[in-house]
């Protein structure tokens, strides 16, 4: 159990120490890779799969578990660029990268402040950050690249809810890869 105790440093929770987890290198490399591959290839069989954003969930998980903003944004950048590679025609490399970099940074920064271990906080974090990711993506696509994307609050809210619910189970599964 190689959990490091993080000093208080203004935590917003009642806990005086927050656990910082580490992961093995294979887990760091293969979990995002498998998440992206599932995201790319499963929708052929499962119709609703594009609503679920597994790379985003993995980014949130790693960022909140490590509680380090630098590694959080690096992880988000890596996973986002990996997702960009498969996004196909007319999708510029870096769109998901930028969005997940921001998400990774903020999620890890938030992980320093609050407890992100219980399902309730995970649900809320996932829901909020999903909206943030969609907003950043839309901003990049619309503001920087002048792509005519349509923004739908209801769609984002429903997708966020779906990801938040699925995220609880995904996070519970990924907890097994934490090194203790």
């Amino acid at each position: 159990m190689s959990t490091r105790a993080m000093p208080f440093r203004g935590s917003l929770t009642s806990r005086e120490q927050l656990s910082v987890y580490e992961f093995s290198w294979p887990a760091i490399i293969f979990i995002p890779l498998i998440a992206v591959l599932i995201q790319v290839f499963i929708p052929v069989k499962v119709r609703f799969m594009p609503i679920i954003d597994l790379p985003f969930l993995v980014t949130i998980f790693f960022a909140t578990a490590r509680r380090n903003p630098v590694t959080g944004c690096l992880t988000g950048c890596f996973i986002g660029l990996l997702q960009d590679l498969f996004a196909g025609y007319n999708h510029y490399l870096g769109m998901f990268g930028i969005a997940l970099t921001v998400v990774g940074y903020l999620a890890s920064s938030l992980g320093v402040k609050i407890d992100v271990e219980n399902p309730g906080s995970r649900f809320l974090i996932t829901f909020v950050f999903f909206g943030l990711e969609e907003g950043v993506y839309y901003g990049v696509a619309h503001g920087l690249l002048r792509q005519g994307l349509q923004w739908s609050w209801s769609h984002v809210a429903l997708s966020g809810l779906a990801n938040a619910v699925i995220g609880i189970f995904v996070f519970r599964f990924l907890d097994r890869f934490k090194q203790r």
């Binding site: 290839f41 052929v44 903003p69 870096g94």
Partner: protein, 463 residues
């Protein structure tokens, strides 16, 4: 002292500096990609490497899954196969009969096409492919298939299914290809409404909806109307099913906003066909056997289902009983409408308008007014057809205008523009007086077949 403050600054804002640096690098990368877009479908090498690295794995997974599924469905789970086989045989028998009828219709259509010099596009060869992946995001609807340039796939080839079109090939690697579906926001397909023949562009949207655009808002588009490819994009052959109109509402810029449901199930595609060759050729009328003058005339006259004829007969009884004319078409009282209801009723309109609904043989009356019948092309056709009941004294004339109109409407609806052109060509003939219809024998009963196989428009069957 300043050095210490710099260290303090870097230490305090290290996280933010890293974040800004990573974001800046990615924005620069975006700018480079926008500044130097790859030409004509070339893709970035890193993408090809990445997809090529995982495509074999995914192929193996998909094919092994297919194998297991096939093992189960083909060998283990055979419940109800006998009954299904029996039902299918019965279905085949029914379809054979239907096929014979459709073949005859197709031969007739090809003859008319040959006469008019239309070129037809045929899907000559296709390659079956398996869908192995998607873009994985809602913003892009890209599909990956397991066939690539080594299988003869090239960019801009059409991708279809038996139910409808899917999209086109946008990127090709040796072992895989990318398909841009018609519901992607960057997609555009030349499409037309099947009945009204209005042409527009079918475009996708970010949310996966497909809309038919650039159709003027003063046009009437009915939900449920089929949408087919127009062939204008030079990718899809003309006439392939695209989808069905769901709603048509006035949009902005004087165009209708027509929502279309794709005919192909784009969200659950597993196998598709890539059209690798399209041939364009003229239908050869000689292959279809000799064309008789009576056939030409018969083609001008719409076929009427038997059921309609029965209805018309029933209505004729009502007419004989003196049913008053209702609606606008008193001419429809022409009993010729029973024999060839559509063109008769429409064509005889001007002349027959004087006859009234209660006239016993208004078609003859219409035929006796050649100036009126020759004023418009349709009137000419109607005059010619108006002779039909004279030569065919079938007592099935529609006395009721309403009923005759009812028989006219579907015929008009089914009469393609081709048929109208034929009529127009006939009207262009310099001898309008030969359209003295009352003296003509019935076209279908013409005993002298014309020897020419591809007669010019003026080569009408001579009485």
């Amino acid at each position: 002292m300043p050095r210490i403050s710099m260290d303090t600054f870097l230490g305090r804002y290290r996280n933010l500096i890293v974040l800004a640096a990573i974001l800046f690098a990615q924005i620069i990368a975006l700018a480079v990609q926008v500044r130097r877009p790859t030409d004509d479908g070339d893709t970035r090498l890193i993408r090809i490497w990445a997809i090529s690295a995982v495509a074999p794995l995914e192929k193996a997974v998909v094919h092994s899954q297919e194998w297991v599924q096939g093992l189960w469905t083909n060998y283990l789970y055979l419940h109800g196969v006998r009954r299904e086989n029996r039902d299918l045989r019965a279905e085949i028998e029914r379809m054979k009969i239907e096929d014979a009828r459709l073949n005859e219709d197709a031969r007739m259509a090809r003859r008319v096409q040959a006469l008019l010099g239309f070129k037809e596009q045929y899907v000559d060869s296709t390659v079956a492919a398996q869908v192995i992946g998607t873009s994985g995001s809602e913003q892009s609807r890209i599909l990956y298939i397991d066939k690539g340039s080594s299988d003869g796939i090239k960019t801009d080839m059409a991708v279809i299914t038996p139910t409808g079109i899917v999209g086109k090939i946008v990127q090709v690697a040796p072992e895989w290809s990318q398909v841009l579906p018609i519901n992607d926001q960057f997609s555009g397909v030349g499409a037309a409404l099947k009945d009204s023949r209005l042409q527009g562009i079918l475009k996708g949207a970010a949310n996966g909806a497909t809309t038919l655009q650039y159709i003027m808002s003063d046009e009437k588009v009915v939900p449920g109307e089929a949408v087919i490819t127009s062939g204008g994009d030079r990718i899809f052959p003309k006439g392939l099913p695209v989808g069905t109109v769901v709603s048509a509402q006035p949009g902005k810029d004087l165009f209708l906003n027509i929502r279309v449901i794709p005919a192909a199930h784009l969200d659950r595609l597993e196998e598709v066909l890539v059209v690798t060759r399209i041939t364009e050729k003229m239908p050869d009328a000689k292959e279809l056997g000799p064309l008789r003058a009576s056939d030409i005339l018969a083609e001008r006259l719409p076929t009427v289902p038997t059921k309609t004829g029965v209805d018309a007969a029933g209505n004729a009884k009502a007419a004989a009983a003196g049913t008053p004319a209702t609606g606008d078409t008193t001419t429809n009282a022409a009993p010729g409408g029973a024999a060839r209801p559509s063109t008769n009723t429409t064509g005889a309109k001007p002349a027959g308008a004087n006859t009234g609904g209660g006239t016993v043989k208004p078609a003859v009356a219409g035929a006796r007014k050649p100036p009126a019948t020759l004023t418009t092309p349709r009137a000419t056709a109607g005059a010619t057809n108006g002779t039909t009941p004279v030569a065919k004294p079938e007592p099935t004339g529609t006395g009721s205008p309403a009923s005759a109109d009812a028989t006219a409407t579907p015929a008009n609806g089914t009469t393609p523009p081709i048929k109208v052109r034929v009529v127009d060509n006939y009207d262009d003939s310099p001898t309008p007086k030969k359209a003295k219809p009352a003296a003509e024998p019935p076209p279908s009963a013409s005993p002298e077949p014309a020897p020419s196989t591809t007669p010019p428009p003026g080569a009408q069957p001579q009485p």
